[in-house]
Subunit: 325 residues, 2 copies
């Protein structure tokens, strides 16, 4: 199944079920919002599946043509957003460029609690206070969960994964080292993320959902030029392991979103990167300094994942940067 | 005004206005929940004030005797919880005990994003996975905000402070250094906090609300024995400065909670501490090791703030620790 949340003037929008090609949609039965759907999934998923099948068959009264400009983030706000950093190549490149010991990722996943009161719409402008802060996008995958009890182990965690999403995790890199040095983690550095419009059930990925990893290339364009095409298959920790990590000392509420961190591949020379910081790290290792500029006012980023069918699995993130002075 | 949220089977509870002595309450007009109240404050506060005055005068039909066991956290869940660390004595003691350079707090406040999907009820047991994790309480003050625009400066921030609360920020100290070393900040180390039952408007503090600081002693008892009586007046950064810090690169939604961090005083030898970690730091400095144990299964902590009138300003946090195996 594919879900989309359309603007209706309310903070959480109106949940719709969307056709596989992303062109037609129908208001979801029994749940006004995706949060409500997640809280009642066991009781209602079969009903949504019936709607989805009828939509695909073209036989559903009340279906509308989907206007991507009406799409909000699937969860316009969430009770919890926990972002991992699960790609070892990314860690190695950043460590090497900054002259840190190359320890990669140890046995303990890296994860921080991010702001979750707002996820920007896929085509919303991203507003920042200053172009001097090193404005960067980060393409990553995420999962949206049902409620997970404290102490859940990785082997039992996959059952709680309800939906998969594509996320643009905006980051202010110039502030990052200062905030990391405090030990308190990121705050200024991590303003609101955006999500691509469609949240999809794992079965929509077919064989590309393997070992709780999204084994598909995440296409990133900056200012209309290809920037990266990194595959999610090289996660050192699968989402099942990230969920178990997140749930060590807390229950996770339905609607918790867990992120993979910047998607990154060993073969970065041919597939590129999904954030500017990593590209600058590669340049720094090769030539002593990064020369790819961070984002400036008016710069744009597009992210999508195309299936072999040509369909865009998650729809498209297409944002521009605006400096608010 | 004083507000309390009473259990009614819903996740956000039912908002009530409570008498100054904490004994009588009336369901709030026009807002079922505190979150709704915060989102409609400008329109409705005068109505709640009328209810509060009538309750104080003893003339309000429908008022009930308040049963503290029915009280939830004022916000049982919130869209955002940003916890500062604004007491320099606490920073110095921890730094000195751990052998770090004593830099205190620099010009940039320390703040992390904490879990906000659940705040424990004032008398709820606190559940943890292991007694080996260094289970600690932290007594601190917090403010609950109206919506704050990105870029708000400290001089303009006080106007957004709607309510003041007393918070027990549970912490797992044994995990802290590991999580701080990653630069990603705390996750396992910071499970759900609890709040005292009453959220109060700043005018309830009278002269004790000065320079956006809560200038009152926070009384902490562990297992029925006095542990600390630290005053909030020594915050290096006032809540106005903490709000400005929080809002640098994000809008803050109504219902955002900002914490002061562990309340701590220069005169710790006579007033004690509001967390075990600080007491152990003092012991480590004096005698080479901390000997106050962290919390074990069945241990209890009580927090309150008594006014000169004898009234308990925020009501009481009274929790026990339970290890879930």
């Amino acid at each position: 199944m594919k879900f989309v949340t359309l603007a209706d003037g309310s903070p959480d929008g109106r949940l719709h079920i969307v056709s596989q090609d992303g062109r037609r949609a129908i208001a979801a039965d029994t749940a006004r919002t995706l949060q409500q759907a997640l809280e009642t999934w066991a009781d209602n998923a079969s009903q949504w599946h019936t709607q989805y099948a009828a939509l695909e068959a073209g036989s559903l009264a009340g279906a509308i043509d989907l206007d991507p400009a009406e799409a909000l983030s699937p969860l316009p706000r969430a009770w919890q957003w926990l972002d991992g950093s699960a790609f070892e190549t990314h860690a190695f490149l950043i460590q090497k460029a900054w002259g840190h010991p190359e320890v990669g990722l140890n046995e303990r996943p890296l994860m921080y609690q991010g702001m979750s009161d707002r996820f920007l719409a896929p085509t919303a402008a991203a507003l920042f206070p200053s172009a001097d802060d090193g404005i960067d996008f980060e393409g990553e995958y995420g999962v949206i969960l049902d409620a997970v009890p404290m102490g859940t182990k990785a082997k039992d965690a996959a059952q709680y994964i309800r939906l998969i999403v594509l996320i643009n995790d905006w980051s202010l890199r110039a502030i990052g080292p200062t905030e990391m040095a405090t030990g308190f983690g990121w705050l200024h550095c991590k303003p609101a993320c955006a999500m691509a419009p469609f949240a999809v059930t794992p079965d929509e990925l077919g064989d590309a959902w393997r070992d709780c990893r999204v084994c598909l290339p995440l296409q990133v364009e900056r200012n209309g030029v290809a920037f990266g095409r990194t595959n999610g298959d090289e996660m050192k920790f699968g989402f099942d392991e990230l969920i178990a990590h997140a749930a060590y000392s807390r229950d996770l509420p339905a609607g918790t979103i867990i992120g993979s961190g910047t998607v990154s591949n060993k073969d970065y020379e041919s597939v590129g990167s999904s954030c500017i910081a990593e590209k600058r790290a590669i340049e720094t290792i090769a030539q002593g300094a990064g020369n790819t500029p961070f984002m400036q006012h008016g710069d744009t980023v597009v992210m999508r994942v195309e299936m072999d069918s040509g369909d865009s699995l998650f729809g498209e993130i297409a944002q521009s940067v605006q400096i608010v002075t």
